[in-house]
Subunit: 344 residues, 2 copies
DNA sequence: TTGTATGCGTTATCAA
DNA sequence: TTGATAACGCATACAA
């Protein structure tokens, strides 16, 4: 069974293909009469235009793609909604494209740009340890959102929106120190991570160093390199190991809320109390941290505002109202039940 | 700056376009020599073939699309991984396409079929209250996965994989009854829902009716129609209302784990204990139910196996090894800390 | 207001 | 083993 095309419709209607095309695309230069007639036939015939053909022909497509690495990250879900709203409000169409963890997001972007004639791209998540050369190949506006870029890259080549991971991390550790904690464990990503995990560990170290608190390397715990910090179980396992190790500590800082949940469970299963025996802090500000029992102290990233700013910068770039920009947001430390003063 | 095409590459290499095409697509009838030469030039020039043109020309594309409605549903995340694996194992390419809650998934499917020359489709999530007519328009194999189809539709028109929502729901309520509970509240989706929520409420009713336990309509609580059962907060609010209403009950059955979490928090915030004051059961089998404190009794849907079976049926259909099939999986009741015998 | 013809960038057929 | 050329389905410049 051959697929139905615009030609078939034209034939059925006794008109030319261009007239059908005009009807479909709401062109003004067509009589209302023939338009409705054509649309009628189209509906009857269940005709659906072929987008590939359309994209091939068009050189101007008002569409934005969001390339997301780690679509299972609950942290991104609210951002996606904002992207969709903001983009559609501006009469652009929105494409959400998932990129696999072992795919190169720039390659994917390059393909998509050609295929869909994109006007702009948002890169959401991932490490982005790319060469400048690669970045330069992207010849349309793009913004890196919540991505820590590894290495030295010319800031004029890209725009970005994120929180200052190092600084926010320092904030967390300072908070714990202010409560009297000095033996603070940190649950981090794989050892070879060069992205947010690395930055947050740096913040952890900085905070301790500034207070002359000795750093116990045994309290810096990593999951495996092929594992994900968004998996609750990984925090759970890490904490079980830490507890079993006999290493002394009074507080735990998990670089993700998900692992903080897992860690909490491990602590509770060991018959210990939160926060009386161990204080625990997460990072991200997921909803679940409020609903967990006990509720979990965390750094909330202002995800909606960040998403909004991302699209704003992107459209400013598209409309040539701005050069590449880098916007750094503040996180908000939300104190909850999982942390308390250390009683010595 | 005009985009670079296969013609430019051909010119640069001093060969014809068809030779370049052959090089790109690993055709056998080309000398290794020219192949490497061409690939070299392609790399240097950063040439990326245009997929729209490719899809337009091709009539045989080994690709499967998964159309997912409710991508923020944590329940689907593990399934997606399985789909990707299974599909790629069979040397097909995998497209994950998100469909918005107010979009018609069949329209989207029809567009995608034409655009990408799909070989098969998986519909994941959503209500699917479609006419038979619409279903018939889809002229390639497809499977509905974890979708409750509303109304009477000829089973020969589609394949499906799901759990028996009504039956599993009955299982939950029976379990609570066996523990001595008779005043059981249920937290459900919006009143006008015609999908899983409706079925699970039916199961709830059936279980009670079979035991001659009177049904208190005030214990059947609905969220708003425009709200989502995957949002923790919705369970929280619903439970707050229920507690404030003064209606008596000893157990709560939430039709989603997410709402069960929210409900648990509401109970705990009210100074009540789980399960001593209220038993609570969820549905889905999300990881978080294990990690929550207390851990939550739930019905686990065997998501991985269901995803695997979905792809199996789909490929059997593609390879004409089978007619349309309907596979119903059993859920597994996992008893945890959130439920206990009622002490009167 | 409408129809004809051309080209978008690829792949496949055919001839060389 | 190669190259020229005809589609694929649509939008549009141009002619009518």
């Amino acid at each position: 069974m051959k697929a139905i095309t615009i030609k078939d419709i034209a034939k059925k209607c006794g008109v030319g293909v261009s007239t059908v095309s005009r009807a479909i695309n709401n062109h003004p230069d067509i009589s209302e009469e023939t338009r409705t007639m054509i649309m009628e036939v189209i509906k009857e015939s269940n005709f659906v235009p072929n987008k590939s053909a359309r994209n091939l022909k068009l050189l101007d497509t008002k569409t934005i793609a969001v390339l997301i690495k780690g679509i299972d990250n609950p942290f991104f879900q609210n951002m996606i909604k904002v992207f969709e709203e903001e983009i559609q409000d501006r009469r652009y169409s929105f494409i959400l494209h998932r990129v696999d963890s072992n795919q190169d997001e720039i390659e994917v972007a390059l393909e998509l740009i050609k295929e869909k004639r994109l006007k702009g791209i948002v890169f959401l998540g991932g490490n982005f340890s790319h060469q400048e050369e690669k970045l330069k190949e992207i010849n349309i506006p793009f913004v890196l959102s919540t991505i820590a870029i590894a290495g030295d890259v010319d800031k004029n080549l890209y725009s970005s929106v994120c929180v200052d991971d190092k600084n926010e991390s320092e904030k967390v550790v300072n908070f714990l120190c202010n409560q009297g904690h000095t033996k603070i464990a940190i649950l981090a990503a794989g050892k070879s991570d060069q992205s947010i995990s690395k930055l947050r560990i740096q913040g952890y170290r900085n905070a301790l160093i500034k207070r002359n608190i000795p750093i116990n390397e045994n309290l810096i715990r990593h999951i495996n390199d092929n594992e994900n910090i968004q998996i609750i179980e990984n925090g759970y396992k890490l904490m079980k190991e830490l507890l079993a190790s006999g290493e002394e500590f009074t507080a735990v800082y998990s670089i993700s809320d998900s692992m903080a949940i897992g860690a909490s469970k491990a602590i509770l299963e060991n018959g210990k109390r939160i926060p009386q025996d161990y204080s625990i802090v997460g990072f991200d500000g997921l909803d679940i941290t409020y609903y967990y029992n006990p509720s979990i102290t965390t750094i909330r990233q202002p995800v909606e505002e960040m998403a909004r700013e991302t699209t704003k910068i992107l459209f400013d770039l598209i409309n040539k109202k701005t050069q590449n920009q880098h916007r750094v947001f503040q996180g908000e430390l939300i104190e909850r039940e999982s942390t308390s003063e250390l009683n010595r």
